[in-house]
């Protein structure tokens, strides 16, 4: 692959600099950081879905040699503030350890501190807790009903959020449309489940009054929330951002873990760490993803043009309110997908139940929403007897219609959906694919073609916060970069957050190299800690190519301007006549009049007398970048620009299902992907393929299943099924670039790509395959045996009907 010429380093297929340390086992993950004398935490968890904590007897645990402390909820709650919630729900307080009542099986009730993790586990077993089990509720529909069992008595209901937005003339559009279709689809409870569990070490230094924190964190507002909950100044919290995060995809938000070990470290005067084990992680790590029931109704004409949509999304957020209800807010920014639906009614409901707490998961609610939209488009096509592709083409925003304002207030920056689809169809040989499906069908296999066209809103901003909680007025989520050229001319760029495999060091190096026209590999990229950090909101919402890349670009540009100004001054020519090339600056009308990199650097650092008057000496520049298009509050009817940039993906696949077993197999998978200018092709490709693997998991394998007793039964990796290399097929990517007009290189986000549309596409394929049997598969995940039972039942019914017919 060669660079397309527009750029020198951007878009070229360069290696990812982070990889070198990982392939030799020299990453620095949270569990690898072991301060002298660190103590280990293990948790005592509630075995009931809901229970009053009657008593806690710590004596036997404390009697074990090597055990230092047993902490219970009352002490912790007495010493800390409640954990922050996104919505305004003061009567749904949440603490790291249950206070009086535990509200889900696996909730932390006490924490044991010991010399080793094994000892801590021994002691955790020895903590004797008496529980009085309480009635519990698991189902979101039930929980929404008035009079249902309450998870939080003081809140008065289980409803955290119930807001209906109306954008445009919904009722009128419905009234004039000749057709309507209403259906329900379900997105099951799964998550991105990184292979590294969450881990955090805290060490309080009472003389310096600093709490050092090393954590596998990916979370905006982490240091400030830690400080506020622990009631210490934020300037006393030092989060080390140079910890490598072993996968996150949204969920590594261990604020409760951090508060717990932070408190314990202060209380005991020892460094304390909590590295979740897999059971703690799955049951009580609070990292489950959305579990959503969608009721969707659309109004459309004979041509399949969809005029209006009513969507009701009911989300089961688990036992407490964290940030997760905001995952109903972000999809407002792409609520019509890539389609020109004129009006929308959107009811967003979040209810609490006695399940594990939900956390932000890759795409922040957009993937389930895309699934609901795409399933609906398929059903409209079926109802009208139209081709599923054709109906999409007819409804899609056309290239020339961008920028395009959707009813809910976001403007899509750019796109070329029809071209991407055409390219995918040409690459895949769509006609041949259909012929292949039909051949398979006539040979007795169930076979279906899956189609999904989805958006990836990117450049993550915070607009869903003021949208769903009017008390929050945050309108931007900046990110920053500081670049220094030292006095011998080396370049060091600083970023201000952790990474979890997104290759941000490579991103920054590439951008700085591009702007300053130096070898990106010569640009050192380091991470600050939170005490010397510029503002960052961490790698969420597919934002870093846009935001960190943008900040690095602008900081580098300022440095380049400064170097140019120094050269102009020293050469005695107007700055407009100076050109910058490969680190040197020369007079365009006399190219041999130039100042080299070394000369410029020396002047800036040592020869202040040669600098333009008033110029700051040295070569160090910071840039803090606001989100493009950000800064606006929502209107009263809830219209707001959510994220600035919109990537597009189009999935096409062929799936077979063994009719006797119900086992789906992906035979062909092609994705068309357009995230604007690609900064690093290896990284973008990896994100897309990895996202598809996550999507395959969510669609076919992964489910946090609960039993009738309210217990999580898929709590280890034998029952919660992560796709292995066997399960992820070869995927072909068809690449397209529609640059964004809003970003420095035309880049858009790709951190959630693949995951945005894979579940929708798989559901589409499975439904295409089973439709001849007269059945609809309307919930995810589509598990083998369940599908097998459905197919068997349908065949039996059909055979009976056929007999009757005869």
């Amino acid at each position: 692959m060669t660079a397309p010429g527009k750029f020198r380093f951007v878009s070229s297929d360069r290696r990812v600099r982070e990889d070198r340390r990982f392939v030799v086992g020299k990453g620095s993950f949270a569990a690898d950081i072991v301060p002298q004398g660190v103590k280990h935490v293990a948790l005592v968890t509630c075995p009931h879905p809901a229970a009053r904590i009657v008593s806690i007897d710590k004596a036997a645990a404390l009697a074990i040699p090597g055990v230092h402390y047993v902490l219970e909820g009352a002490e912790l709650a007495g010493a800390t503030n409640v954990l922050a919630a996104g919505l305004d729900t003061p009567n749904v307080p949440r603490y790291p350890l249950a206070l009086n009542v535990a509200r889900y099986a696996g909730e932390w009730v006490a924490a044991v501190v010991a010399d080793s993790r094994a000892l801590a586990e021994d002691a955790a077993e020895a903590v004797a807790i008496e529980y009085a089990p309480l009635p519990f509720i698991l189902d979101a529909d039930e929980a929404y009903k008035p009079g249902s069992t309450l998870v939080h008595e003081a809140h008065g209901s289980n409803v955290l959020l119930d807001r209906t937005f109306v954008w445009g003339e919904v009722e009128q559009d419905f009234a004039v449309s000749p057709h309507r279709l209403k259906h329900r689809v379900k997105w099951g409870r799964s998550s991105t489940v990184p292979i590294e569990t969450f881990g955090v070490t805290a060490s309080w230094d009472p003389w310096r009054e600093i709490l050092d924190i090393w954590a596998s964190i990916q979370m905006p507002k982490y240091p400030d929330q830690t400080a506020m909950v622990l009631k210490i100044p934020m300037s006393s919290v030092r989060v080390h951002y140079d910890v490598d995060v072993g996968g996150s995809y949204g969920v590594k938000r261990g604020i409760k873990h951090t508060v717990l070990v932070g408190y314990l470290s202060k209380r005991l005067g020892m460094p304390v760490r909590l590295i979740e084990d897999r059971l703690e992680n799955m049951r009580g790590g609070d990292m489950h993803g959305p579990e959503r029931n969608f009721d969707v109704e659309v109004a459309f004409d004979d041509q399949g043009i969809i005029r209006s949509m009513k969507m009701r999304a009911l989300d089961n957020v688990g036992a407490y309110a964290g940030r997760s209800p905001f995952q109903l807010g972000k999809p407002v920014g792409a609520i019509v997908g890539p389609y020109k639906i004129k009006s929308v009614q959107y009811q967003a409901i979040a209810v609490v139940t006695n399940k594990t707490v939900q956390e932000a998961v890759r795409a922040f609610g957009q993937s389930p929403t895309n699934y609901a939209i795409e399933r609906t488009i398929d059903e409209v096509a079926v109802k009208l007897g139209l081709d599923r592709l054709e109906i999409r083409r007819r409804n899609m925003i056309r290239h020339e219609e961008f920028p395009y304002l959707i009813p809910s207030g976001s403007t899509y920056d750019s796109g070329d959906y029809h071209t991407v689809i055409d390219k995918v169809l040409a690459h895949a040989g769509y006609g041949e694919l259909i012929a292949e499906r039909d051949r398979l069908r006539s040979a007795g296999t169930l076979a279906g073609i899956g189609i999904a066209a989805c958006l990836e809103p990117s450049g993550g901003n915070s607009s869903f916060e003021p949208l769903l909680n009017p008390k929050v007025g945050t309108t931007t989520w900046m990110d920053s970069c500081r670049i220094s050229i030292d006095l011998v001319g080396s370049i060091t760029a600083t970023m201000h957050t952790t990474s979890a495999g997104q290759g941000h060091e490579t991103l920054v190096g590439t951008v700085v190299g591009e702007v300053l026209e130096v070898d990106p590999d010569k640009v050192r990229v380091v991470r600050s800690d939170s005490l010397n950090a510029l503002p960052s909101n961490s790698p969420v919402g597919s934002r870093m190519a846009i935001m960190l890349g943008g900040a690095a670009f602008h900081a580098a540009k300022q440095l380049k301007d400064k170097l140019t100004a120094i050269a102009a001054h020293d050469l005695g020519v107007p700055v407009e006549r100076i050109a910058y090339k490969d680190g040197s600056a020369f007079d365009t009308s006399a190219p041999d009049k130039k100042r080299t990199w070394a000369e410029l650097v020396t002047m800036a650092h040592r020869h202040i007398h040669k600098l333009p008057e008033g110029m700051e000496p040295g070569l160090s520049v910071s840039h803090i970048m606001p989100v493009p298009m950000g800064g606006g509050l929502p209107t009263a009817d809830g219209r707001v620009q959510m994220y600035p940039c919109y990537s597009f993906e189009f999935h096409l696949m062929l799936v077979t299902i063994d009719p006797d077993l119900g086992k789906p197999e992906i035979k062909r998978y092609v994705i068309g992907h357009d995230c604007g200018t690609v900064i690093n092709p290896k990284i973008v490709r990896g994100m897309t393929l990895g996202g598809i693997a996550h999507g395959i998991g969510a669609a076919l394998y992964e489910e946090f299943a609960y039993n009738e007793d309210g217990l999580l039964v898929a709590q280890n990796f034998m029952d919660y099924l992560l796709p292995s290399a066997h399960e992820v097929p070869f995927v072909e990517i068809v690449h397209h670039e529609t640059p964004s007009p809003l970003t420095v290189f035309g880049q858009k986000g790709s951190g959630e790509s693949g995951y945005l549309g894979a579940p929708a596409a798989i559901a589409s394929a499975v439904n295409d395959a089973v439709r001849p049997l007269g059945i609809v598969v309307d919930s995810l995940p589509i598990k083998v045996a369940r599908l097998g039972d459905m197919i068997a039942q349908a065949r039996e019914n059909n055979a009976r009907e056929a007999k009757k017919g005869n």
Partner: protein, 162 residues
């Protein structure tokens, strides 16, 4: 209990509790932190090391069981400081990772495969790493890395190559 371990061709004598897994022994006692804990119940493969050349799960073996066998960890694969083995280099070339957490284990599983099979098919590569879960990549660039390494290693003794 005292146990003598042969790790990356070096002998180490360590005092361990019988319940200490080989994984925890490597990480906590010998500071060989390239082996990672993922599930600690033998499913995810992040703790893979080689025992007598075969990839095994170090979370499912106790340190006291590990005397008298040759253990290879990721730290034993790199030829020298700052240098990469052909397999490690191939993982960098294809970007066969993202967060890097499963990577050492993945490379060791691949190393075990390539030491037995110099020309694996795609299916054989997939099967060899199917016990190692990666949540970032969707595996494609990992499979490519292993195929690339195999190809390069086959060519290693080819005199026309520089």
């Amino acid at each position: 209990m005292k146990v003598e371990l042969d790790i990356n061709r070096q002998k180490h004598t360590v005092e361990v509790e019988p319940r200490l897994s080989l994984l925890d022994c490597l990480r906590d006692k010998l500071l060989l932190i390239g082996a990672h804990a993922g599930c600690e119940h033998g499913v995810c493969g992040a703790c893979t090391v080689l025992v007598d050349g075969a990839a095994i799960r170090s979370c499912l073996m106790f340190a006291v069981q590990a005397d008298g066998v040759a253990i290879t960890t990721i730290e034993g694969l790199s030829p020298g400081p700052g240098e990469l083995s052909p397999l490690q280099d191939a993982f960098c070339e294809t970007h066969g990772m993202q967060c890097g957490y499963c990577t050492p284990a993945m490379i060791l599983a691949a190393h075990a495969l390539l030491s037995k099979n110099a020309s694996p098919t795609r299916e054989e590569i997939v099967d060899a790493i199917s016990g190692n879960i990666c949540r970032c990549t969707g595996y494609a660039q990992i499979v490519e890395a292993i195929a690339l390494a195999a190809e390069r290693m086959r060519g290693q003794n080819d005199p026309v190559r520089p």
